[in-house]
C-alpha cells in the first residue's frame, strides 16, 4: 500500500472526526440509541436478555449503515464542492488513490462501529452468563457487507449528482420496491384481459426487472441467513452464504470504485 494512500486515509479520518455535520449526526444517533436502549438494559429480565443483545447489535448495525452512507456522501460532496480536491490532484498522487482512500476510510469507520457492536454484545453476553455465540461475529460481518454496498452506492451517486438527490435515490429507489412492483405487475398481468394493456404491463414488468437487477442489494441471501439473526447459531452453510454476501459486497464496491474513478477523472475541476 503506497505511503500516499495511508496519508490520504489519515486525512479523510481527520475530516470525519472534525466535520460538524457528521458529529451532529453521530450525536443524534447516540441520543436515540441511549433513549431507546438504556431503559431496556436497566429493566431487563433473564428471559429477555438474549433478545436485548440481538436488539442492541441490530441497532448498532443500523447506526453503522446510516453513518457509512452519510460519510460517503459528505466526504465526496465536501471535497468536490469546496474544490480543495484541486490541491490533491495537483500533487503527484493519483486520483485513484484519493478515491480509494474515501472508500477505505468509510469502510474503516463502519467496521469500527460494527466491532463496537461485537464488543458490547459479547460483554453483555458474558456478564449475563450467556455463552459467546459465533452469530455475533457473523451478524457484524454481514453488517459490514451491508454498509459497504450502501456507502459504495452513495459514493458513486455523489460523484455526479447533488448529495440531496443522491440521498433521495438511495432512500427511495431500492430493490425491495422494484421487487414489490414486479410482483404487483405480475398479478395485474394475470387478471388482464385487454391485449394492449397486457402488452404494456409486460413491457413495464421487463423494465422493472431490469431496474431490480441493476440496483444494489443491501442484504443478499437475507432470507437464507435469517435464522442466524434469530438464534445467533451458525452452521457451516451459513458461513458459505456469508462468503457469498461478502463477495457480492466486495464485487459491488469494486464496480462502484472503478465507475466513480472514471467519472471523477473525467470531471472538470475549475
Amino acid at each position: 500500500m503506497p505511503r500516499q494512500l495511508i496519508e490520504e486515509i489519515k486525512g479523510q479520518l481527520v475530516f470525519i472526526r472534525r466535520n460538524k455535520l457528521i458529529r451532529a449526526i453521530g450525536l443524534f444517533i447516540l441520543i436515540i440509541l441511549s433513549v431507546t436502549l438504556i431503559p431496556s438494559i436497566v429493566t431487563v429480565s433473564s428471559e429477555t436478555q438474549f433478545r436485548l443483545i440481538r436488539k442492541i447489535q441490530s441497532a448498532i448495525g443500523n447506526v453503522s449503515f446510516m453513518l457509512g452512507m452519510a460519510l460517503a456522501i459528505l466526504t465526496m460532496y465536501y471535497h468536490i464542492n469546496s474544490r480543495c480536491i484541486k490541491m490533491v490532484l495537483t500533487k503527484p498522487c493519483r486520483p485513484e488513490w484519493w478515491m480509494l482512500s474515501v472508500f477505505l476510510s468509510t469502510a474503516l469507520v463502519c467496521s469500527c462501529v460494527q466491532f463496537l457492536g461485537v464488543v458490547i454484545a459479547t460483554t453483555l453476553s458474558l456478564s449475563w452468563g450467556i455463552p459467546f455465540q459465533r452469530g455475533i461475529v457473523f451478524v457484524a460481518l454481514q453488517g459490514i457487507a451491508r454498509c459497504t454496498v450502501a456507502f459504495s452506492w452513495g459514493i458513486l451517486l455523489t460523484a455526479f449528482l447533488h448529495p440531496a438527490v443522491a440521498l433521495m435515490i438511495i432512500m427511495a429507489v431500492q430493490e425491495k420496491l422494484f421487487y414489490w412492483l414486479m410482483a404487483t405487475t405480475a398479478g395485474s398481468i394475470e387478471g388482464m384481459t385487454n391485449r394492449l394493456r397486457r402488452i404494456m404491463l409486460q413491457m413495464a414488468q421487463q423494465l422493472l426487472a431490469a431496474c431490480y437487477m441493476l440496483l444494489p442489494s443491501y442484504s443478499p441471501f437475507a432470507d437464507r441467513v435469517e435464522s442466524v439473526h434469530r438464534s445467533y447459531r451458525v452452521v457451516t452453510m451459513d458461513w458459505i452464504y456469508l462468503a457469498g454476501i461478502l463477495g457480492y459486497a466486495l464485487l459491488f464496491a469494486t464496480f462502484c470504485y472503478l465507475l466513480t474513478t472514471i467519472i471523477f477523472v473525467r470531471r472538470r475541476y475549475i
Partner: protein, 306 residues
C-alpha cells in the same frame, strides 16, 4: 520548451440552454526553462482556464498542452517538479495550518521532513498560527499557507494564480523576494495576475490574453522600450502651460507631462524663467499598462480598454 500550448480550445456549456462558451480559443503559449512569464488579461480572458489546462485539471477540447514534453494529467508524476498556488484558497479547511502543509507535503513521493514544514511555516510568518484551523484563518493567512506549500519542496515549475491577493504590503514584498530568489535559482514561473506593477517587478516575459487567445507574447524589456522622441517631466503646477507640453496628470500642485525631446531645452528655460521646480525629467518609457491597453485596443476592445 518546459511548457507549451498549441491551438488550445476549451468550451464550457453554461446556463439552462447549455449554451457553449469558448474560454480558450486557439490559445498558444511557449515557456522556456528559467523564464518568468506573466499571463495578463481582463476578467474572463481565459487566464485561469489556461492554467487549469497546464495543471491537467481540464482537458482541452482541441489542441495540445505539454509540460516537460508530456501531456499533464491529474496526479501525474510530473507534479513532483511542479508547485501550484490557487487563486481562491481552496484548501482542506478542516486541517490546521501545520497539518495542511504536512498533508500536502506527504502527497509527494519522497516525504518532506517535519523540520522543513516548520521552516516554511516560519518563513511565511505563520509560526504563531500553526495550530489554527484553516477555516478560521484570514484570506491572507490562507494565501501564506498556500505559499508555504509551494516552497515546501524545490520545484522546477511554479504556477501562481493571483498570488498576492489578500496579502498585506509587507507579506507581498516578502513573497516577491521569495519569488525572485526562486527565479534566480532557475525555477520557471507562470504567474497570473492583474497587478501590473507587481508583474513588472517579478516577470521577464509577458503574454497578454484576450477572449481566450494570446495577443502578445514577448520579453518584458523589449516591450517596456524607451520612446526616444519624448521625455516624461514632472514640475510645479502653473496656469498657462505651453501647447508642446502634453499634460497627463495634474494635482497636488504638480503636473506630470510629456515633452518632445527636441523641445526639452525650451521647456527647461520656460520652467527656470517662471521659477517652476522640475522634479523629474527622464526619457519616456512605455508602461505595461499602455502596452496592455494598446494590445486590447488592437484586438478590437477599444471600449473595454478605454
Amino acid at each position: 520548451m518546459i511548457l507549451e500550448a498549441r491551438d488550445v480550445t476549451v468550451e464550457f456549456a453554461k446556463g439552462r440552454r447549455r449554451q457553449k462558451i469558448r474560454a480558450l480559443d486557439g490559445f498558444n503559449l511557449q515557456v522556456r526553462p528559467g523564464d518568468c512569464v506573466a499571463l495578463l488579461g481582463r476578467n474572463g480572458a481565459g487566464k485561469s482556464t489556461a492554467l487549469y489546462c497546464f495543471l491537467g485539471l481540464l482537458q482541452p477540447d482541441r489542441g495540445s498542452v505539454s509540460l516537460f514534453g508530456e501531456r499533464p494529467t491529474m496526479g501525474s508524476p510530473l507534479f513532483e517538479r511542479i508547485a501550484y498556488l490557487p487563486e481562491e484558497p481552496h484548501y482542506h479547511l478542516y486541517f490546521t495550518v501545520e497539518e495542511a502543509i504536512r498533508y500536502y507535503g506527504a502527497l509527494y513521493r519522497d516525504p518532506i521532513p517535519p523540520r522543513r514544514v516548520g521552516e516554511v511555516i516560519e518563513l511565511v510568518g505563520l509560526s504563531e498560527f500553526r495550530d489554527l484551523p484553516l477555516s478560521k484563518c484570514s484570506k491572507g493567512m490562507k494565501q501564506k499557507a498556500g505559499i508555504a506549500v509551494c516552497i515546501l519542496k524545490e520545484c522546477d515549475l511554479l504556477f501562481l494564480d493571483e498570488p498576492t491577493r489578500g496579502l498585506d504590503p509587507i507579506a507581498t514584498k516578502e513573497f516577491r523576494d521569495i519569488l525572485l530568489q526562486m527565479h534566480r535559482r532557475g525555477t520557471t514561473i507562470l504567474i497570473n495576475s492583474h497587478i501590473l506593477s507587481e508583474v513588472e517587478m517579478v516577470s521577464d516575459h509577458v503574454a497578454i490574453m484576450d477572449r481566450g487567445r494570446v495577443l502578445i507574447q514577448d520579453e518584458l524589456k523589449k516591450l517596456l522600450r524607451f520612446e526616444h522622441g519624448f521625455h516624461s517631466v514632472e514640475f510645479d503646477a502653473c496656469a498657462d502651460v505651453p501647447g508642446y507640453i502634453a499634460v497627463e496628470r495634474s494635482g497636488d500642485g504638480v503636473i506630470q507631462a510629456t515633452v518632445p525631446t527636441g523641445m526639452l531645452p525650451t521647456f527647461l528655460s520656460y520652467a527656470s524663467g517662471r521659477g517652476l521646480a522640475v522634479y523629474a525629467c527622464s526619457l519616456k518609457r512605455t508602461t505595461l499598462e499602455e502596452i496592455f491597453i494598446d494590445a486590447l485596443k488592437g484586438a478590437g476592445n477599444a471600449q473595454a480598454a478605454d
